[in-house]
């Protein structure tokens, strides 16, 4: 699914250069469940942003399903993201003035789905995450666990092949955390791919592969290649 080749991303601030991410080569295959771990500032989010087509590397190429992502024009990159990638955020990033239903409708609207179909699919997804009775609630009227489930429903709205998750369990109580991770397990079981940035060792342990980052460098990149079942 992904092939990263000679990637460097450097941030420059006040004439100081910080290497945010550097990798000679990295492959992520279809159906992999990858946990990206490492201390704060180690480049996890930078990697996630580059995989999501939102941050171009200074050098190298990011190949996504056979296309060099950053050789595509912005609109084409946006289209790939819209059609193939779902995002999960630590703080859910729900639009506060929209209801749960409307939040789930957003990616469908961006995809050009008709209004009636948007509604039908959004209701079905909310029911799937156990929030069928909360469709008209705004994020402020939901618990954090419920908010993350709305965010998950939104992520799944366009039936993505890949989920990029940034600390998806960071703000959740144990029950909600378990619900999210179970959903991820099911997602991978369907042959789809997850790249998850996490500080949560338990969550990382459920991944089939773990990438350790330190100061923007991959450390023992092939370590812990396991299967969930193992």
């Amino acid at each position: 699914m992904f092939h990263l080749q000679d990637i460097t991303k450097v941030y420059r601030r006040r004439q100081e250069e910080v290497v945010a991410f550097k990798a000679a080569s990295l492959d992520i295959g279809l159906g992999e469940y990858v946990a990206v771990v490492g201390p704060s500032g180690s480049g996890k989010t930078t990697l996630l942003s580059m995989l999501g087509g939102m941050l171009s590397p200074d050098t190298g190429k990011v190949w996504f399903e056979g296309e060099s992502l950053y050789d595509l024009p912005v609109t084409a990159r946006t289209q790939r993201r819209r059609e193939r990638i779902g995002f999960v955020f630590q703080t859910f990033n729900l639009v506060p003035y929209l209801t749960a239903l409307e939040n789930v409708q957003v990616p469908l609207f961006l995809h050009g789905v008709s209004k009636s179909e948007q509604r039908d699919r959004a209701v079905a997804l909310l029911e799937q995450v156990g929030l069928g009775n909360r469709v008209e609630h705004k994020p402020s009227e939901l618990s954090t666990g419920q908010q993350q489930r709305v965010a998950l429903a939104r992520t799944l709205a366009n039936n993505p092949r890949l989920i990029l998750a940034d600390e998806p369990t960071g703000n959740l109580d144990p029950d909600s955390r378990e619900a999210v991770l179970s959903m991820f397990d099911n997602f991978v079981r369907e042959g789809r791919t997850i790249v998850m940035v996490t500080h949560d060792p338990g969550a990382a342990a459920r991944a089939s592969r773990r990438l350790c980052l330190n100061d923007g460098m991959l450390v023992m990149p092939e370590e812990s290649r396991t299967t969930k079942a193992a």
Binding site: M54, Y97, L98, E102, V106, L108, D166
Partner: protein, 406 residues
């Protein structure tokens, strides 16, 4: 869910954030619409006044003032009636009619009235024929009037109210204004006694709302005889064939009649014209204010909205929103502010103009759809231009900001 819903939900959730901009636009458009409406109708009123006055040029005694003429028409200052013949014989280009007048105080039914002596146009025709002058057929250069020349003098006496001249009037006839007819209960065919002489009422003039309503018109020579005034007049009204005639006539008349004061009617309404000009300039000033203050307010509001919504914009971009959609989202917000402000301002401005127009300028104001559409269009153009830069900067936001923690 669509773009409109997305924008509307936010505006409905936090209307106060956008209130200042909307108010700024609303007030600007209100002032613009109100001032322009009053100005336009005031200009029309002045135009109608000029039209109804008929005369383009007035020949007055040297020391008479326009106020004397228009307030009461009464002055002891006079001109020799021979000036009328002088103008007639000169056959000045552009002159279409002359109306010499002599005004004196009189009493009808124990009420004060203004007795105005006028010379019917048929007598000019007779005089011209006698003196072999081609009456009022000399067109001035660039005359816009289609035809100039001999006419029939058979208009109804009531036309005096609008034309300022009368075609036929006998020595023993009088025409009375609407107020005089009302308080004296006089009707056409009855007689009115003036200075001990009975004159037959030829017609009652329709109400004009001017000093003419309290006048009694009689033949100039009858008034001169009854008052022993001699062959004099107070004023000679000169009707040009068209608006452009007045400018050329004034110097020629001044040269012809050095002992008289020659003024154009436009000078009479110069104050109102000046006020109209001031209001017209004021509306440009208000438009400038609307552009600067309204534009700055919209730009500031949209910019701060972009700053506040950075993470939300980043999230939308991560979910697949294109930069052009993000631009449209912020422009739509600005247009919503613009439309609400402009429509509200137009309605308010119209109400202000209708209510205050009557007090300020004494005019009746009606909606001018073209002007309202123009104001709304101007407000929308301003909001679009003002919001364009912040909207484009939103579209250029780094979508990675969606990963930033709150």
């Amino acid at each position: 869910m669509n773009l409109k819903t997305l924008v509307w939900r936010e505006l409905a959730e936090r209307p106060s954030a956008m209130l200042t901009s909307t108010l700024t636009i609303l007030l600007g458009v209100t002032a613009l619409v109100a001032i322009r409406h009053v100005t336009v109708f005031s200009e029309r009123e002045v135009g109608q006044q000029l039209q109804s006055l008929g005369a383009n040029v007035l020949v007055l005694p040297k020391d008479a003032t326009l106020q004397d003429y228009y307030s009461a028409d009464l002055t002891e200052r006079t001109l020799p009636e021979s000036h009328v013949a002088s103008i007639l014989l000169e056959n000045l280009p552009g002159v279409e009619r002359l109306s010499p007048k002599l005004c004196v105080s009189a009493k009808v039914a124990n009420r004060d009235v203004t007795l105005t002596g006028i010379l019917p146009q048929s007598e000019f025709q007779a005089k011209a024929a006698w003196q072999s002058v081609s009456l009022f057929s000399n067109k001035h250069e660039g005359c816009k009037k289609a035809a100039c020349g001999p006419k029939t003098y058979d208009a109804a006496p009531e036309s005096l109210a609008s034309e300022r001249t009368i075609d036929q009037l006998k020595d023993n006839e009088a025409i009375i204004g609407a107020d005089v007819a009302e308080f004296s209960a006089l009707k056409p065919g009855q007689t009115v006694e003036l200075f001990g002489e009975k004159l037959q009422v030829l017609a009652v003039l329709p109400r004009t709302g001017t000093v003419d309503d309290s006048r009694v018109f009689a033949h100039l020579h009858t008034v001169q005889r009854l008052t022993n005034a001699g062959e004099v007049v107070n004023a000679i009204e000169v009707m040009g064939c068209c608006e452009d005639a007045a400018g050329g006539l004034v110097p020629k008349l001044a040269e012809l009649l050095p002992d008289a004061k020659v003024v154009t009617i436009s000078q009479v309404v110069s104050t109102q014209v000046g006020i109209n000009r001031l209001m017209s300039q004021m509306s440009l000033f208000v438009l400038g204010i609307l552009v600067i203050v309204g534009g700055a307010s919209v730009a500031s509001t949209i910019s701060s909205n972009v700053r506040e919504r950075r993470r939300e914009v980043g999230t939308l971009m991560a979910l697949g929103a294109t930069p052009s959609l993000v631009t449209r989202m912020f422009l739509l917000k600005a247009w919503t502010l613009g439309i609400v402000g402009a429509v509200g301002g137009s309605v308010l401005g119209l109400i202000v103009a209708m209510v205050l127009g009557a007090h300020w300028a004494g005019v009746t104001v009606k909606p001018l759809p073209g002007l309202i559409a123009l104001s709304i269009g101007a407000a929308l153009v301003i909001t679009t231009l003002a919001a364009l830069w912040p909207a484009r900067s939103a579209a250029k936001l780094d979508p990675c900001c969606c990963f930033q923690e709150v």
